[in-house]
């Protein structure tokens, strides 16, 4: 009697890869870097809170002669630390390594020889990246929020709706950056360098100038989702304020959804068709 065995579906296979990859991703050397990266804002918030407790007279809470409350400092940290730095960095380091790590470790063969669609490997790893980074970034933001917002008499309750919006925005940002760099990782030979140049070269440069090029960035659409005011911390920021045209929230959400799904799909196709030659 013969038993017919149908191959598992794309999502079923992706779920198995997700389960396998999540543990690998969390307990890898890269996670030490991730922990340091996300621990820094928490330590900074803790330091600010301590200084606030020591100098309750409010001597230090002046930026350019203007008194700044906890909610404003939190907004500043969201902009400068999370949106401009942590989210793109996580996207670059994790997104580009989804397939590249398996190629470098020469373990990709083991995954590709399983009776599952090749694109399921990428999809499962992408989902593991998303869960891993989201569950590390959001608690970090949460701790920073509770440490920083009460400074200067700020109200947790008043600022709480903004925190929920920040959560959504950060999760969307991680999804979009991760998807873009997953595509880069599957298509390009040195994805990390390309990713860093894109995040910290191309995106900030293009956003400074008027024109349509900025629409070829993720940051352009992310800006519209941020509820905090953009800090004017440098001449570059002032220029960004001047030349900035902000798309509507609906446009941004639609664009980021298209970027995320489109690039994951393209990355999946690349994995399906690309022939990986493992160097001996």
């Amino acid at each position: 009697m013969s038993v017919s065995r149908s191959s598992p579906s794309l999502f079923g296979s992706a779920a198995r890869i997700f389960e396998l990859s999540l543990g690998q991703m969390l307990w890898s050397r890269r996670s030490v870097f991730l922990g340091l990266l996300l621990g820094f804002p928490v330590l900074l918030a803790f330091a600010l809170r301590t200084i606030d407790a020591m100098y309750r007279a409010g001597l230090w809470r002046q930026i350019n002669g203007v008194r700044v409350g906890g909610a404003a400092i939190f907004g500043l940290m969201i902009w400068l630390l999370y949106i401009r730095f942590i989210v793109p960095v996580l996207g670059v380091f994790y997104g580009t390594s989804l397939i590249a790590d398996e190629v470098d470790d020469k373990t990709i063969t083991y995954l590709f020889t399983r009776p599952i669609p090749r694109s399921a490997v990428l999809l499962g790893k992408y989902l593991a990246y998303l869960v891993c980074t989201t569950l590390l970034v959001l608690p970090s933001v949460m701790l920073v929020f509770f440490l920083i917002v009460p400074i200067g008499g700020g109200s947790i309750g008043a600022a709480f709706p903004a925190l929920l919006r920040d959560f959504g925005m950060l999760a969307i940002g991680l999804a979009a950056y991760g998807a873009v760099f997953a595509l880069v990782g599957t298509r390009i030979k040195r994805p990390l360098i390309v990713g860093l140049v894109f995040s910290f070269g191309w995106e900030p440069a293009v956003l400074l100038f008027p024109g349509y090029l900025k629409r070829l960035t993720v940051a352009y659409y992310m800006q519209a989702l941020v509820t905090h005011e953009m800090p004017q911390d440098s001449a570059v920021s002032v220029l960004m304020q001047v030349f900035r045209e902000v798309p509507t929230v609906a446009t941004s959400l639609a664009a980021l959804a298209i970027i995320s799904t489109g690039t994951v799909w393209l990355a999946g196709r690349a994995v399906e068709h690309k022939e990986y030659v493992l160097e001996q």
Partner: protein, 353 residues
Amino acid sequence: MLTRTRYFLVASLLVLGVGVGTGLVAYYVGFPAGAFTRGDAADELRFIPRDAAVVAYVDVQDVMASDLRQKLHKALPGDGNGQREFQERTGINIETDIDRIVACLNPNSSMSNLPGAGLVIARGRFDEVKIEALMREHGAHVEEYSGQRLIVADRADHADAGDHPPQTTTFALSFMEPGLTAVGSTNLVKNAIDLHRAGDNPQTGLVSVMRNEEMMQQVKALESGNAWAVGRFDALASRAHLPQGVAERLPPITWFAVSGHVNGGLRGVIRAEARDEESANNLRDVVRGFMALGKLQAGSNPQMQLIAQSLELGGTGKTVALSFVVPAEVFDAVATMMPKRQPEKPQPEKPQP
């Protein structure tokens, strides 16, 4: 999945769950602070522009229903014709139809004089048709703005003493939602409509006073009361075109705040924030002097003595606060000094032809 991975997931979700839970509790329970409570002024403050120099709030229902108001209504001369006429012309009974008012003053850079641009957000029950008809009778026209009807009237301002020519400003009214109306300078009313429609959006420059942290800290620091006002003293003084001698002698105050609770009597606090501690100490000395003078003047008048005794000077650092209580007895005494109000006579019936 490894056990430690499972622990990590549980720990992370636990931190998020506890944080979100605490935030929700703070949002629903911990939000009220002093005079600034959600469901009261907070709702209307969302429509006040961020750069407002003065923001004021009155719980009209509370004030109208207070014993003090009832006493004054009975004691003060006048037969209430003005109030009745206002009701006939607008359909608004001030005593019952208006719940609360939030107002702001925005010294407009394009205008040479105070008061600049103003906006009043009123919540209550309004006869929209009657009010619109009344305004149109007086030359107003209706415009459409962001899907809202905007009733706009022109108002010619007088020329001031300087070289500035007379200006024509527009005054508008809009019913933003049932029971909520915005009335004031057209630009501010349009801004309120935008804020009502889209909410705060710092990216487009559309921001309410709720994001003005300095102003909101002043509001939160107020004593609870059914009427209050907070404003930037320096912003108002710099645009008031005061004579040089007067302007130089003004105390260096940056913020002022007044809050009061009207019930049987009147309890209130006047608070000022000076530029520095030295200025605050000087201001305290001046107020102390006036308090001493007031106590001397009170003499043997028991009501005045009660007021004088209630005066209390406080505040630390740059803040100077003066609290006072005007007890119900003072208003009773005032009422006895007033001529008695005549009871309304029934109108004689006109003879039938």
